[in-house]
Amino acid sequence: MQIEIHNLTKVYSEKRGLLPTSLDVEKGELIAVIGHNGAGKSTLLKMLASWLLPDSGQVLVDGINLGNRSAVVRKIGFVPETPNLFDFFSVEYNLKLFARLFQVPFLRIEEVLKEFDLLPFRDNKIQVLSKGLRQRVSIGRALLADPPVLLFDEPTSGIDFEMTKEIYRLLKDFHASGKTIIFTSHRPEEIKTLATRIIVLHQACLVFDGSPQKYFQSEIHEKLYL
């Protein structure tokens, strides 16, 4: 198992957060976590990314406990819903800063700029970029240290149709290169052909975990989305 989650819990209020949840993730899976707003999707991802501290439970990534932050950050790359970049600085500056902190060679920045078609924007300040481009910089930053697990929180939220297709193409490419991917979405139809596994959260509880085929034939899908 690449990720082992045991009784992971975070409670904000009744029916908000994530009630004790356990699941395992195999290497190379492409998992979509779906559910309505407030279902606990982002809470789950933010806990895996160490943005939130769980109330209880344990997570192991490649055998490393989530509490060992400095080791686990090399295993997990997280792309938040709103790109959190240093707006007043250029694309290249942002990537260089994080490359330094990850202690990866600057050559990797060139690779990332090329891979995400950011070369023409390398000197542009983040604040002048569109949301789609910022999202690409954010993904590029998460991939600087080449982590085996990638987490995407609502990667297509607030971006146009073309950019959404581009993001899904990237997810497929990462999956094809052997990375484990977990992303959240509240639009199940969009991820029908993308995910290899679907996890459904409803009112802070895990209510479904299985293949897309099973999910779209299940009562849960009918109950929640139809």
């Binding site: 990314a49 160490s50 943005w51 939130l52 501290l53 932050r69 400095s70 080791a71 950050v73 090399r74 790359g77 997280f78 938040p80 709103t82 959190n84 970049l85 240093f86 707006d87 994080f98 902190l101 990850f102 202690q103 930053r141 998460a142």
Partner: protein, 342 residues
């Protein structure tokens, strides 16, 4: 149109409530009023003057008699020698010390804390009036005035300006900077790297200290003030900038966004600045101010600049500042570990 303006105004007011700016509007006048209450208001009108006389000194009998008879104006306190008298002056137990002039018989030397002050003027005026009443128009009893703190008014105010600069950077700039990184989730992005929490905190501490040192250096380049003991002065600015930068970072951690951080910064800025800076004018504030770290910074700076103070003789003050700095840094570390309001 009017309806929209009202709606938007109410919305702005709601935002001001939400980000706590409104508290400043209430807090600033309240605090200034409270500080002014603590300043000895009688100074400007009438206040009995505490005059120190040296126990074994042979003062002219006419002078002694006149001072003692004017018990509605002067309170006479006896000190054992000139050194003790000067110490009492600094501690504000007496307002002036009278010494017998060595140059002229029946004349006095008035020792005061500062030559250019309302209090000194008041002492001289009262003596002049008493002398007129006792002897008519003869030679002034007070032939010389010696200040304990010898420097121009410009330099006298220097410690206040230094304190203002240090507190401005620490309580206004630093909390906003920290809160901005929290608000924009930049700190969380940095925590997605192998960087350790303490490294980020030390970097922020350096930022605060560098900003303070640049501001102080710039002020000195403009003013070309005499520094007294340079090493002690620089060391104390260093310790102070450490303490208050750390304090500012801690305040930043208590806030979710920049607006709250600025409000909280001002709320801490004024109570640290005013009691220390105004302590010269009030015995009440002198009693309260020593509990503040700002006073433990302000007084040694004054001592180094005006009284040849040295860091070796100010151990208690710099240890206190160091401890406050370390304690607030530790609290910031705990809050960062807990991802407080991130």
């Amino acid at each position: 149109m009017t309806r929209n303006i009202i709606t938007l105004t109410l919305n702005d007011l709601a935002i001001a409530f939400k980000n706590k700016t409104i508290y400043l509007i209430l807090f600033i006048p309240f605090f200034v009023f409270f500080s002014l209450k603590l300043v000895d208001r009688a100074d400007a009108q009438f206040k009995k003057i505490n005059i120190g006389l040296i126990q074994e000194e042979m003062y002219a009998p006419v002078i002694l008699r006149t001072i003692k008879s004017a018990d509605r104006v002067f309170t006479v306190l006896r000190v054992s020698n000139e050194e003790e008298g000067k110490r009492w002056l600094k501690e504000k137990k007496i307002d002036g010390l009278l010494l017998r002039s060595e140059k002229e018989q029946n004349s006095l030397v008035l020792v005061v804390l500062k030559k250019e002050s309302l209090l000194t003027l008041s002492i001289v005026e009262n003596f002049s009036a008493l002398q007129k009443a006792a002897e008519g128009n003869s030679i002034n009893w007070i032939s010389d005035i010696k200040p304990v703190q010898e420097s121009g008014i410009e330099k006298q105010t220097l410690p206040t300006w230094i304190l203002m600069l240090v507190l401005l950077v620490s309580f206004i700039i630093m909390p906003a900077q920290v809160a901005e990184e929290k608000e924009k989730k930049l700190l969380l992005a940095l925590l997605q790297t192998p960087m350790r929490e303490i490294e980020w905190l030390i970097a922020k501490l350096f930022l605060g200290m560098i900003l303070i040192l640049i501001a102080v250096l710039f002020l000195h380049l403009l003013g070309k003030f005499d520094l007294g003991n340079v090493l002690s002065y620089v060391a104390f600015i260093g310790v102070g900038s450490f303490c208050f930068s750390s304090y500012g970072i801690f305040l930043g951690f208590l806030c979710r966004n920049q607006a709250s951080a600025r409000t909280l910064g001002v709320i801490f800025y004024l109570p640290h600045l005013l009691p220390s800076a105004l302590s010269d004018f009030s015995q009440k504030l002198t009693a309260v101010a020593p509990f503040l770290p700002s006073y433990q910074f302000y007084e040694p700076i004054k001592s180094i600049l005006f009284e040849e103070g040295r860091i070796s003789t100010l151990s208690l003050e710099w240890i206190y500042l160091l401890l406050v700095g370390l304690l607030t840094l530790f609290f910031s570390y705990l809050l960062m570990k807990k991802r407080w309001l991130m």
